[in-house]
Each structure stands twice: as C-alpha cells, then as structure tokens.
C-alpha cells in the first residue's frame, strides 16, 4: 500500500517536473522570439552585453551497448546491457532588459534501457531484469543550466540560477571543482550540468574577483530541485545545512591565467561539515619552449576527507591535510591535432595497501550481507561502490548513455587525450585513456565523429578496460590478484549517436 502510494507520488512529481521543463521551453521560446523582435528593431541595444540573443536546438538519437563483468565476491551496481535514447536540446540566451539576460540549456529525453544484469547469490547465476522503473523512466527532462545574469555596470555581474562554473585549468579532471556534478575523465563533454547558486563577480581588465553561494540540493526530480538547503535534524537535535561558499581571484599575468580559490563546504555533496578548502590553478602558453605548447596545474588543499579510510574509519574530522594535484600539458600540432597529458595525484586516494585492505573488508561485508539476505529469503541487493557516484543528488547524469568512468579511487593516474580535428575534412578523432599508475590498469577508447554537413553529425565511441600485466594486480585474500579497473562493472562499451542541429 505504502509502496503504491510512493510510486503514485513519484509519478506525480515526475509529471510535475516534466511539465515545469516543458513550460520552461515555452518560456524560452517566447523570450527568444521577443529578443529577435527587439534585435530587429534596435540592433545597437547589445552594446553593454557582449552579444545579442540567440537560441539553438538539436535532436539526437543515441544507442549504447555494454559488456558487463560479474564478480561474485565484490559489490557492483546493476548495469543495463542496452540503452536507447532520444534527446531534444534547446540552448541559448535572451536579453530581457538592457542589463538582464537569461541563459538556458535544457534537454527533453526519452530513454529506455534493457537487460539489467547482476549476479544472484548464492548460486551466482546471472539475473536479467528490466530495471527499477523509478530509476529507468521512459521520459525525462534534464536542466543543465538556467540562470539570469544581471550586469548593472560592466565591472559587476550577478548570476542567479543553475550554472556550471569551472575555475580550474585541468582538462580531463578538475580537483578544485567542488561545485558541479563530476565529469567523466574519458569524455568531459558528457557532463554539462551546473549547480544552483548565486554568484557576484567584480571584473576588471586583468583581474576578476568572484564569490558564490550554492545551496545543496538534497533531492531532485528530473534535475529540478525538490528539496534545497535542507536542515536535517539528527538524534542530538542538531541542525545541518548543505551548502558551498566559494571565492576566487583570477589574474591574467603575461601569458598565464592564475586563479586563487577558497571554499567553505557544509555537507555539500559529501559528509564534511564546516570544511575549509583552498585551491589554485595556472595555465600558460609556454612560448619560450614552443609556441604550440601549453602547461597547466591545479591544486586543492583540504583538512580531513569525505572519503573513509581503508579500514572504514571516518576522516571527515581528521586534522591531516590532503592534497589533490593535477599537472598537465597540451601540445597543438601543425596538422590540427592536439595531445594532452595530465598527471593526477589524489592525496586522499588509496595506496596499494589501502586498496587491498578496503577490498578485503568490502568483500567480507558483502558476503555477510548476502548470507543474511539469503537466510531471510530475500533477493540480494548489492550496493554500488567506487564507480557509481556522483552528483549533487547522488545520481549519475540523467540522459547520458555513455558514462563509463567518473570517480577514481587510488592516488596516482595518468590521463591522456589525443584529438585530431578536420581529419579528412569532416572527421574528428579523439582517443582517451585513464591509466592507474599503481597497477598498470586502465580504461581507454576512441571517439570518431563524422560531420557530413552542417546540420548532422554521426559519432561512434568505444571503450574497454585493460590490465597491462597480471602481476601488477593487487593481491586480495579470497580474490587473488585484481586491478582497480576490474572492479568496474563495465568491461567494454560501444555507443553511437546521430545528432541533428537546427
């Protein structure tokens, strides 16, 4: 009875959210037409703002096929074997008044996944289900960005709404990005969602000072918040806020972009309460070495960590300092290609010993949970780990068909990306790799895009994991030698996309 009511409420909330986004589309269309009319009648009205109003639409059809791995001794989420998705996107901006502009990036999605597979305990047979309907609805909306930008004077800008703000200079990964849903290191373009915030910027010729306040979204439906900045009452009757405050100073020094950042996080996307974090980034054209070489670095320093220690103890109140550092370089070749190398060090990540200890305790915990569930006559429901995070609401990006790797659990990684533009004029080739430097395993794959004309693009992607040498795996009792990427429930993935622009 209760579950029926919950389902009914969920359905109503989904319908409400969907209606709100559809209304948003109509709202956007109305203002876009208004803006076009304004533009025609007063072409010089945009001298304060940088550019005039513009709206663009695209429609895409995507398919995603996954080959799964089943490990009877480690927890893993259910993964669909096939996903098909139709995606309609509207992106643009409208000037409502001379100093006020609205930006939006909204998707309407029809999506369906099939053949979710997992292991059944205790006989380890593979169960194929159609997935939980509440996590796999046929229709969705996804609000990536929707914000108003007010500029009373060119030096001052106020932004209110949902926006993706990236201050760091890293390309595949951004250690200082505490605000947005995390992106895939293999394909950063898969994640476009921002965060709800209010930001004030003081912009000068070579310096910018910015400060933002972002309330945590505790629950959302179709990326529309249903519970924001919630004050939870725990057993000791203490109230907890969920928010992030950030400030930065940007400075253009010669050929370098410099950022200094400070954050105050209060249970925002993680359990750390009242945590101060400091960040910095640098990006520079290294003309002295080569006019085609760029270097960048990004660092985050924090006390304590939201990530539990390998023995399961909490580090949220630890006095120890942890550093996350990204060092990278981009080389632009003459033939329109670019090679990007980045080294990522996560101080709070696992060493080899930590990895072994964490997996050992996880496997033991899972085993005991499964045994208890089997004795009670229930189906075993495993808990997603390492690769199943994240977003402000704890859900992976809605509408995407192809996320494979998002969070990295160990300390040191090499991230490589090669891009070749205008390959045979209409082809774009990209190859990405994330390589674990502890166990020589990783995930890699190419992306090939063909643009036969200016309104159509066809994309093929493929990813597969690898372990260079079996001996480099880490020995876990009861599991033998395993590599980090063997924990990923996806061993390989092939996807395609047909996208039309209009």
């Amino acid at each position: 009875m209760l579950s029926q009511m919950t389902q009914r409420i969920n359905k109503k909330t989904s319908v409400f959210s969907f209606s709100v986004v559809v209304f948003g589309f109509c709202f956007g269309s109305f203002f876009s037409s208004l803006a076009f009319a304004q533009e025609e009648s007063n072409p010089k009205h945009c001298l304060i703002f940088a550019s005039s109003s513009a709206w663009n639409c695209s429609a895409a059809f995507r398919g995603d096929f996954v080959r799964q791995r089943f490990n009877e001794t480690l927890p893993a989420p259910e993964v669909p074997s096939r996903t098909f998705l139709v995606d309609f996107n509207m992106t643009g901006k409208s000037e409502l008044l001379t100093n006020l502009r609205v930006h939006a990036d909204v998707d309407l999605i029809a999506r369906r996944s099939w053949d979710y597979k997992r292991l059944n305990f205790p006989n380890d047979s593979v169960i194929t289900t159609q997935g939980d309907s509440s996590d796999n609805p046929a229709y969705r909306s996804s609000l990536y960005e929707l914000y108003a930008l007010f500029e009373p004077d060119p030096e001052y800008q106020l932004t209110v709404g949902k926006k993706r703000i990236l201050w760091g200079s890293g390309l595949a990964s951004n250690p200082t990005d505490l605000l947005n849903p995390s992106k895939s290191v293999l394909d950063p373009a898969l994640e476009r969602r921002g965060a709800w915030l209010a930001q004030f910027e003081h912009i000068l010729e070579k310096d910018t000072f910015a400060v933002f306040f972002a309330p945590g979204v505790i629950e959302d439906k179709n990326t529309l918040p249903t519970d924001v900045f919630k004050y939870k009452t725990d057993s000791s009757d203490r109230r907890e806020s969920h928010s992030l405050i950030g400030a930065r100073w940007y400075h253009l020094a010669g050929h370098a972009d410099l950022n200094l950042m400070a954050f105050y996080s209060d249970s925002f996307k993680d359990p750390q309460v009242g945590a101060w974090k400091a960040g910095a980034s640098w990006s520079q054209s290294l003309l002295a070495l080569s006019k085609q070489l760029e270097g960048h670095a990004e660092i985050l320093l924090q006390q304590g960590s939201a990530r539990n220690a390998s023995d399961g103890s909490s580090r949220t109140k630890s006095k120890q300092f942890y550093t996350t550092l990204l060092l990278g370089s981009r080389y632009d070749f003459e033939n329109e290609s670019a090679l990007i190398f980045e080294f990522l060090h996560q101080g709070e990540g696992d060493s080899r010993d930590d990895f072994i200890q964490r997996r050992t305790s996880e496997a033991g915990l899972l085993r005991s949970q499964m045994i208890a569930a089997a004795r009670a006559g229930q189906s075993s429901s495993v808990t997603p780990v390492v690769f199943a995070q994240s977003s402000a609401s704890g859900k992976s990006s809605q509408g995407e068909a192809g996320r494979t790797v998002s969070a990295l659990g160990m300390q040191n990684y090499l991230l490589v990306n090669y891009q070749r533009y205008k390959f045979n004029d209409d082809l774009f080739l990209s190859w990405s790799l994330v390589h674990n430097l502890h166990d020589a395993s990783g995930f890699q794959g190419p992306l090939l895009q063909w643009t036969p004309n200016q309104t159509l693009s066809l994309t093929l992607t493929a990813n597969t994991d690898y372990a260079l040498w079996p001996k480099t795996g880490m020995h876990v009792d009861g599991l033998g030698r395993i590599h980090e990427f063997e924990l990923n429930p996806v061993t390989s993935r092939v996807g395609f996309e047909i996208k039309s622009f209009f």
């Binding site: 663009n56 639409c57 960005e145 030096e155 990236l166 476009r192 912009i203």
Partner: protein, 251 residues
C-alpha cells in the same frame, strides 16, 4: 609684343601649374614609405576599434561548402573577440584574443581553453591570426618591391618573430587609394601557403572604406578557398574592457 609675352608667360605658368597639379598625386603617392603603407593597410583591414558581422564560406576540393556566421569586436591592437552565430552545430563558440593570449570557449564543455595562434580559423583557409591579429606594423618589417602593375604598390613584409603565422607576406595595394588588391603568404621554407584577393570596396562608416570581400586561397590544395564577406561594420563601436576577459566568455 608685351601682350604676347604676357600671354606666353601666362600659358607657361598655367601649363606648369597644370602639370604640377596633375602629377602631384602620383609624386605624393610615390613618397609613401613601406611603413606608411603598412599603417594604411592596418587602418583599413584592422581599424583601432570596430564591431562587424561577417559570413565565411569555406569551399573544399570536393565541391562542398561550409558556411559560418560570425560577429567580431575589436578594441585597440590587442583585444579581439568573436562569437559564432551559425550554423547551429558551432553556435555559441567564442574566440578571445588579448595580446598573444588566445582562448576558445566551447559550449558543450561550458569552459574556455587556451589555443595556439597558428590554429586554422574554424575549418576555413584563414588562420586565427589572419582574422584575430591584423597588426602588420607590430609583427612585420616592410620594404617596397617592384610591382608588375603600374597602378599598384608591392609591399613585402618580413616577420619580426617566429610567432607569426607567415614568414613573408607580399601585398599589392592600389596606388589611387592604397586599398589592398592581392596578398601572397609564404612559410619559412619560402613556399607559398595562401593567396588572398580583395574586392567589393565599400564605405561601411562615414570616411571608412574597406574591401567587403576577401577570398583566401589555399595554394597547397588549389581547389580550396575561403571567402569572408563583411556584412556590417562600425568603427565607432566602443566596448568596455570587461568584454575582453576570460571570465566573460560564454556569457
């Protein structure tokens, strides 16, 4: 007799005055130095401040075309910004140049990244520097060459630094009004890389005239060329410095 002398004197003075006046434009033009011609070229093709809209059509060897609509804004010699308005597949992309710094904003990444100046300009035969950095006085030293066409100057430019897109540029300018007619662009090997033809001279603002159409040919692949047609241009436009900052990209 006296009257005839006066008449002869008058005719001589008149003839001298006529010849002087007739020849003066040529001799004045002939006095133009290479540096003065570079300054005139920069003033025509890259005025101090302007706002313009343009359509770029890239024609490829297979006969297909790619069309891009853009909006340009320039402030001084160091600040330049481009918004791509169409087609929909690239709409929202932006390019910013401040001095030797260049960034591109990609809407699907919702961020800006640094780019090298030598990159090709959005799939056409122009370089970013051809469009973003028209400041030959700062980048090149010029000498006057011998033009085959009597009604034009030949200006030969040699790169001052290795950071420029071309090592040598040859420019032909009309003697009558110093408008550019043709350009040839050479790499460090001495090989011709591009050639440009300037046409459709139009007065966009009062007292400001420039070629509305520039066709850039790829001399390495003869069938390829890119046409840049300036649709509107205002040299009175003025933008605040904040429009030429990294944090402003994408807004």
């Amino acid at each position: 007799m006296k009257a005839r002398l006066i008449l002869h004197f008058s005719v001589c003075v008149g003839s001298f005055a006529f010849i002087t006046l007739a020849v003066e434009p040529v001799s004045r033009a002939a006095e133009l130095t290479a540096d003065a011609l570079i300054e005139k070229y920069d003033a025509v093709m890259g005025p101090e401040n302007f706002e313009s809209s343009a359509r770029m059509t890239a024609k490829r060897e297979d006969g297909t075309t790619r069309i891009y609509d853009m909006r340009f804004v320039k402030k001084g010699s160091e600040k330049f910004r481009i918004w791509f308005k169409g087609p929909a597949s690239v709409a929202g992309q932006e390019v910013l140049r401040v001095g030797d710094n260049s960034w591109v904003y990609l809407p699907n990444l919702k961020r800006a990244t640094r780019i090298a100046n030598r990159d090709s300009f959005q799939g056409g035969d122009f370089n970013n520097a051809d469009v973003l950095r028209v400041n030959y006085k700062a980048d090149y030293t010029g000498t006057l060459g011998r033009s085959e066409k009597p009604d034009s100057y030949l200006l030969e430019l040699k790169s001052k630094s290795p950071n420029t897109s071309y090592d040598v540029i040859k420019l032909w300018l009309r003697k009558s009004d110093t408008m550019p007619i043709r350009g040839e662009y050479f790499g460090t090997s001495g090989k011709i890389l591009r050639s440009a033809e300037f046409s459709d001279y139009k007065e966009f603002s009062k007292g400001y005239k420039r070629p509305a159409r520039v066709v850039m040919r790829n001399e390495l692949i003869k069938e390829r060329f890119t046409e840049l047609v300036t649709q509107t241009m205002s040299v009175e436009a003025s933008f605040p410095d904040q429009r030429f900052t990294l944090p402003d990209l994408g807004k």
